[in-house]
């Protein structure tokens, strides 16, 4: 079964084996409002934890999306780039941003589980 984690920067992470799928949370898209632009990273890019790798833009603001984990981008979601509205419709499903092959799975320990994130988002 996939491991589900969340970052304090409002990214969700689903890990299967050494592959992590990353997107932004329902709470984050709710705060952003209607998303009108998404830029995803190039496949093959080496990313380090907390590095800005994607961009999400709503009518009111442009925000960087960070990679919560170190590794290599092995896939990016072209659908979310061409249909940014997906983020509002299905933030934690179809609107995943990119997949990373983890080089340091120990970093997962520093991330929150859903209960901890929900509490964090409520107070943030």
């Amino acid at each position: 079964m996939a491991i589900e984690k969340f970052s304090k920067d409002h990214e969700w992470i689903r890990v299967e084996g050494d592959i992590a799928t990353i997107g932004i949370t329902v709470h984050a898209q709710d705060q952003l409002g209607d998303v009108v632009f998404v830029e995803v990273p190039e496949v093959g890019r080496k990313v380090s934890a907390e590095e800005a790798v994607a961009v999400v833009e709503s009518v009111k603001a442009a925000s960087d999306v960070y990679s919560p984990l170190t590794g290599e981008v092995i896939e990016a979601n072209a659908d979310v780039a061409s249909t940014p509205g997906l983020v509002n419709e299905d933030a934690e499903g179809k609107a995943w941003f990119f997949k990373v092959r983890l080089s340091n799975p120990a970093e997962l320990d520093a991330l929150m589980d859903r209960a901890a994130y929900d509490e964090f988002a409520k107070n943030g």
Partner: protein
């Protein structure tokens, strides 16, 4: 992702469509103006031209195959089209324009008169320098006053806007670091900064490190010191800042920045609050742009162009870009080539020519017609006007940094947040739209980003007390209605009296229609 919590709604909301409709679509004498392509057609023309003589084409098959399709209009049609469009425009010449951080002050007519003098209006940048000595002298005089007012030893006049000025100053900083062989790659930017600051730094390849503000809305020397390190190239700080507050620890911040081997870039967007009161050079600043179009009353916001000269400290002066002015006996020389730069090490050039001559004339006219005392009074009056508004509204509207009693003075602009609107069903956006119905251009909203539902009001020194009282009276009326009124449709339905109602910004961003297409082509495309 970096969370954004200013709370700005992005959908048009629940605006009803109850409107008075007319046969023509016009609203009284306010015309529903079509696009120029929809008025004219290709078969008519407003001018009587002789038919073109038959000529052999020398374009080798590259000539246009079809009609160009420009609409033909008669002179009165053309005139009316543009006059009607201009009537939809709102400008500082039509009324109070309280956009915070933008400094929409009056553009004196004397400035315009001077800029149109034939000896100034009719010269060309490619004329031999010997024939435009007067114009170069004028630039030299402007440069002198800019250095005098800022207490800085050098100025580069050529940048054409604030952000361009930022780029100029930061390029000088980068050149200074490179000359020392240093490879610093971080720029510190407070989280209340204008968006152009981190954009400039990122554009130049720097990594941006945000500095959080203190609870009182300013930046502490301690926070800067904590963020400084051997990798920091510069700090970019605005003073007064975008919350309308003077950065009181700026001297200490400058000291810490210099001790760490970095440079201090000051965003001069709000210099208009301190002209004649504070010299940035005395504060330890290394580079600062001056928006002539804000502080020195030249037109902007569609009426521009802007102009953003940059003053530089002695440490950065050698790297100032081309062109610059040098005295050669009793002649003035505009140095355009690196080869002629002598000891200077210009980092390059930013503009094809020398910058915005028309704006230099206007800004210098403003300086000379106001004098030192007048410029100081303009700063004082700008601050007084903002504080008059602050004091007149503080019992109804909430100030995020007003201090425990709400009496903490602001500089040239006053910042409110939306906590006073809590549970009223009215948002900052609704409140701003309701102002339009009352005949006021809204204030800056949802900026600075550090405040929820921000409303940033900058009246400038241009408004009379009568005008300020009217504005305050309107805002008090609206604030009371928002808090205590039974019918909130005044806000949620606003604007009701503008040429357009609430716009769907999401649709505009997702499906922008950026060009007109002929009806036939459009039909074929669909």
């Amino acid at each position: 992702m970096a969370m954004n919590t200013q709370g700005r709604p992005t959908a048009p909301g629940t605006v009803s469509s109850s409107e008075i409709t007319t046969f023509t679509g016009n609203r009284g004498l306010d015309h529903e103006e079509p696009l120029i392509f929809e008025i004219g057609d290709t078969g008519r023309t407003g001018v009587d031209l002789p038919s073109a003589p038959k000529a052999k084409s020398r374009l080798g098959g590259l000539e246009r195959k079809a009609e160009i399709g420009l609409p033909g209009l008669t002179e009165p049609e053309t005139m009316r089209h543009y006059v009607r469009l201009s009537r939809k425009n709102y400008a500082i010449d039509s009324g109070l324009y309280p956009l915070g951080s933008c400094t929409m002050k009056h553009n004196p007519r004397l400035n315009e008169k001077m800029a149109r003098l034939p000896g100034i209006g009719d010269i060309h940048p490619l004329q031999p320098q010997s024939t435009v000595q007067g114009a170069i002298q004028l630039m030299e005089t402007l440069a002198h006053y800019l250095m005098e007012l800022t207490g800085m030893p050098a100025v580069s006049l050529s940048p054409k806007a604030g952000a361009h000025g930022e780029l100029c100053g930061m390029l000088a900083i980068k050149a200074a670091h490179e000359a020392k062989g240093s490879k610093r790659d971080v720029v510190l930017v407070p989280d209340s900064a204008h968006g152009t600051n981190p954009a400039t730094a990122a554009f130049m390849g720097y990594r941006v490190k945000p500095i959080p503000a203190m609870a009182d809305g300013t930046v502490s020397a301690e926070a800067v010191r904590a963020a400084l390190g051997p990798d920091v190239a510069a700090i970019m700080l605005t003073n007064p800042n975008t919350c309308g507050l003077f950065e009181r620890e700026i001297v200490e911040i400058a000291k810490a920045v210099h001790e760490a081997g970095a440079y201090f870039y000051c965003d001069g967007a709000n210099f208009n609050a301190i002209v004649g009161k504070v010299r940035p050079g005395d504060l330890g600043i290394d580079a600062m742009h001056i928006n002539l179009h804000k502080t020195f009353s030249t037109p902007h916001g569609g009426g521009g162009p802007g102009a953003g000269p940059v003053v530089l400290s002695a440490a950065l002066a050698p790297y100032a870009p081309l062109p610059f002015i040098r005295k050669d006996g009793d002649k003035l020389l505009l140095v355009e080539d690196e080869g002629a730069a002598g000891d200077a090490k210009p980092f390059g050039r930013l503009t094809a020519f020398h910058g915005q001559m028309g704006m230099y004339v206007r800004a210098l006219t403003y300086m000379l017609s106001h004098g030192a005392d007048g410029m100081r009074q303009a700063s004082e009056d700008a601050v007084l006007s903002a504080n008059y508004i602050r004091a007149s509204l503080k019992d109804l509207m909430s100030q995020p940094f007003g201090g425990p009693t709400g009496d903490r003075p602001c500089m040239h602009e006053v910042l409110f947040d939306d906590s006073w609107l809590k549970d009223t069903g009215v948002t900052t956006l609704d409140f701003a739209k309701a102002m339009i119905d009352e005949g006021y251009h809204p204030m800056t909203m949802y900026f600075p980003l550090v405040v929820h539902g921000a409303m940033l009001i900058e009246p400038t020194e241009s408004e009379s007390k009568q005008s300020l009282d009217q504005f305050i009276g309107t805002l008090r009326f609206l604030a009371n209605e928002a808090k205590h009124g039974n019918d909130k449709s005044r806000f949620t339905e606003a604007p009701m009296l503008a040429p357009r109602r609430r716009l769907d910004e999401t649709k505009a961003a997702r499906e922008p229609r950026l060009r007109w297409r002929p009806p036939a082509a459009k039909a074929a495309a669909e």
